[in-house]
Amino acid sequence: MQCPKCHAPMHTYNRNGVQIEQCSGCRGIFLDYGELESLTRLESQWSQQAPPPPPAPAPQAYPAAPAWGAPHHGHHGHHGHHGHRSFGRMLFSS
């Protein structure tokens, strides 16, 4: 995807579960439909929590993933292919 403003390539990142495209040239950010609402929702959740509890690191937190990653549904279902024979071979091949 190219930046509509300066036409440099845009790269996709996942921030707090919201997928954003950022221009590698002018650093402008593109939001897909619904993403502004997601950000607003995150912001209101944050302000409702005032005073915020100490940010305890969540050891069970889902690891960050790229925007092109497979959609995940909690800890089950995401790695449905885990243990598949074909994946077993893939783990060991160039």
Partner: protein, 330 residues
């Protein structure tokens, strides 16, 4: 399989076996596999276009790819034998002399000799030494290439990705319509990669010493059976973008194939060991995005190339990678 080549590799392996005095303490197979007074039967461990490996007892011999750059391989072998890589890379055994780690087959293919190491058990991916792999990569990435025998060649990861795309393009995919669609998706993902990841431009940045082809088949325990884990296969080793070495597990995780817990173990161990390919904390994907996209595309391209002559559609694991390629360009 070339019988003559197998015989040559067997001879190369057995020559070292025979030269090792019997009863010497140290790297030995479980005694049941070593019959006193006779050499164990040779075993072909791998026989592929890019390499043939034969084991005789405690020694293996490898014939490298016919189009292998022998001068670059010679440097890679000197690096693997260098004290700075002790405890990180399995060192080669001499072939022609104390510093001569490379012989030639009749057709010019380079031949090398190595101690046998115990591979990762294939049936238990969760129990694989993910943390050890991560720590070994962190150690490798910390080695200053300036301190090594040179000229240190470039890491061959992008070249291998380009080769996978070429294989996919050369495959006859018309017979299976779903393969043709998958190939178009993979090609679109490839076109969206930056030029350096397609091996069409030098990698940005100074680069670090990288393995270049990390997967679970690249780890062995040496001495067998309970020595430390070491990295093997230096054919793609060189200076490049270190995120490439993390990119296969990253790609498997991103495509939903590798359990998130296992990915977290691997990445956490790499960071804890001071690995320099990603920032010390926070989202590692700014560094991993391009290499992981490249490895996803490379693996998907090879899946299409392998499915084509079998006239079969992709299985669900292979399809998960093509689905990732589709999401890269949507």
């Amino acid at each position: 399989m070339s019988r003559a080549l197998i015989r040559r590799l067997t001879a190369l392996s057995e020559a070292h076996e025979a030269a090792a005095p019997p009863g010497v303490p140290g790297p030995r197979e479980p005694s049941s596999l070593v019959v006193e007074g006779s050499l164990p039967a040779p075993v072909v461990l791998a026989d592929r276009p890019d390499g043939t490996v034969v084991r005789a007892g405690r020694t293996v011999a490898k014939a490298h790819a016919p189009d292998c750059d022998a001068a670059a391989l010679a440097v890679r072998l000197r690096i693997a034998a260098h004290p700075r890589l002790h405890g990180t890379l399995l060192p080669p055994l001499p072939v022609t002399g104390p510093d001569g780690h490379l012989a030639r087959y009749d057709d010019g293919r380079p031949l090398t000799r190595w101690p046998y190491g115990l591979p990762v058990a294939p049936d238990d991916p969760d129990g694989a030494p993910w943390e050890d792999a991560a720590r070994l990569l962190a150690r490798l990435h910390a080695v200053d290439p300036e301190t090594l025998p040179g000229p240190v060649p470039p890491m061959r990861g992008p070249a291998k990705a380009a080769r996978a795309l070429a294989r996919m393009r050369a495959a006859s995919i018309e017979a299976v319509p779903s393969l043709a669609a998958a190939a178009r998706t993979v090609a679109a993902g490839w076109a969206a990669l930056p030029a350096w990841a397609r091996d069409e431009a030098p990698a940005p940045g100074p680069g670090l010493l990288c393995h270049g082809d990390l997967h679970l088949g690249q780890l062995v325990r040496y001495p067998v059976p309970d020595g430390r884990w070491l990295l093997i296969d230096v054919d793609d080793l060189g200076v490049g973008e270190p995120g490439w070495d993390l990119a296969r597990p990253a790609a498997w995780f991103a495509s939903g194939l590798l359990a998130p817990e296992v990915w977290a173990r691997f990445l956490g161990a790499y960071r804890a060991a001071g690995g320099r390919a990603v920032r010390a904390e926070g989202d590692p994907w700014p560094e991993l995005d391009v290499p992981a996209r490249a490895l996803t595309i490379q693996t998907a391209a090879l899946a299409v190339a392998k499915a084509a002559p079998e006239g079969r559609p992709l299985d669900e694991v292979e399809s998960a990678l093509v689905d990732s390629c589709a999401r890269m360009v949507r």
